[in-house]
């Protein structure tokens, strides 16, 4: 038959290039993350014990907000320049297009943020083990945030100022991810649960979102055509 892997690679490469070039916004998420983490200790005060206790939660909230920040443009740019009209009728099903775009968004926008999160954790006086648990829980949980956000992005694709509406739509759906993420991340700093159980739930949430969200997002994009 034809060569879908080639088309997937071409789409991924294109997303990667757009994100990396000027105005692409790949670094917006990481910079926003840095700003949030940098100013919070000033607001809370120099109580290291307190910072260490709420540090994992702060990192998770910052990651959640940074993820949503870039996502509203995920399909809006394609809609505005007419690319979406063409993407509907390519050899790739629209569901795969959604999945590949999300994967590219995650690797360009979120992965750098996860990689630097142990560094930011130091600013919140997290102990060594907690640093790694936070990064690990972000690694397992942020795919779910991206995929859930993609549903919101595709629902608001034709709205010019859809960013806020998208956040309102998506934030309630991300609460389970946030709960299990923080509970896994704070296991090292005297959290309520051991690490493994919430971590596995987090993995399950991400897998379920990766499996289901492309269908929901593609359906919303098709509806938006009419």
């Amino acid at each position: 038959m034809n060569n879908p892997p080639g088309a997937v690679a071409a789409l991924f490469l294109r997303e990667w290039r757009i994100a990396r070039r000027i105005g692409g916004g790949a670094s917006t998420g990481a910079v926003f993350f840095l700003i949030l983490i940098a100013i919070l200790p000033f607001a809370i005060g120099p109580d290291l014990n307190l910072l260490a206790r709420i540090g994992p939660a702060i990192l998770w909230i910052a990651a959640l907000l940074s993820t949503l920040l870039g996502l509203d443009r995920l399909f809006q740019g394609e809609e505005e320049d007419g690319s979406l009209d063409l993407m509907i009728h390519t050899r790739l099903p629209l569901e795969v297009v959604v999945l590949v775009k999300c994967a590219a968004h995650w690797t360009t926008g979120i992965l750098p943020l996860i990689i630097v999160s142990p560094l930011f954790g130091l600013m919140l006086a997290l102990e060594a083990r907690a640093l790694w648990l936070v990064a690990l829980s972000l690694l397992a949980g942020t795919p779910a945030l991206t995929m859930i956000g993609a549903i919101g992005a595709s629902l608001t694709v034709s709205l010019r100022r859809g960013g806020l509406l998208m956040a309102v739509l998506v934030l309630p759906l991300t609460i389970p991810v946030l709960i299990f993420g923080v509970s896994a991340a704070s296991a090292a700093s005297g959290g309520a649960a051991p690490f493994l159980t919430p971590f596995l739930v987090l993995c399950a949430l991400s897998l379920a979102a990766i499996a289901a969200a492309p269908f929901a997002a593609a359906a919303a994009l098709r509806l938006a055509r009419e």
Binding site: N2, G77, R91, R225
Partner: protein
Amino acid sequence: MRLSGAEVTIERGGRRLFCDLTFEAGAGEALTVAGPNGAGKSSLLRAIAGLLPVAAGAIVLKGGDDERNIGEQAHYLGHADALKGALTARENLDFWAALLRGDDKASPAAGAAAPMSALAALDRLGLAHIAGFPVHVLSAGQKRRVALARLLVAYRPLWLLDEPTSALDAAARTALTQMMRAHLAGGGLIVAATHAPLGLDGRQLRLGAAEPDEP
């Protein structure tokens, strides 16, 4: 291959653009859709591409690939150029070539032009020298020509062109006419909505002005 529409009715936002429109175009034929602004030319093209539902009637492409819908056998050139400003003209075209090119069994019928490389297609439209420039620095006419080059990098038998000549200069119009003639000679079909003459013989479809809704 034959594209035909039978008693097609299209509504947008509760307003009926036209009803019971019947049209037909065979292999190697061009159908030019004319009519005043708001007559429904673009909507007709979008409906053929499957981007807009028809309220009544049916549009079918006979003799094509039965496993694909019309949109998957058509190049749709809308008002927007579907180019990413941050990417170069060549990268844009390489991307669409990878996504739009069909499988080998459905590729060109005998006599049709084989898909070109991005550079060759840009050269056809006189843009070889700007292949490496990001699209956002190009002029409107140059962007339009890059969008037209997309039609050449992947073979699809049906071309749906919405105002293909907008922003084009005389030389580019000539190149476009040659492109379209070559496509028709290879057994392709073209449906074009336009105000300007395209230099093609073929059928004409005139859409009337939308009747004002009487209260």
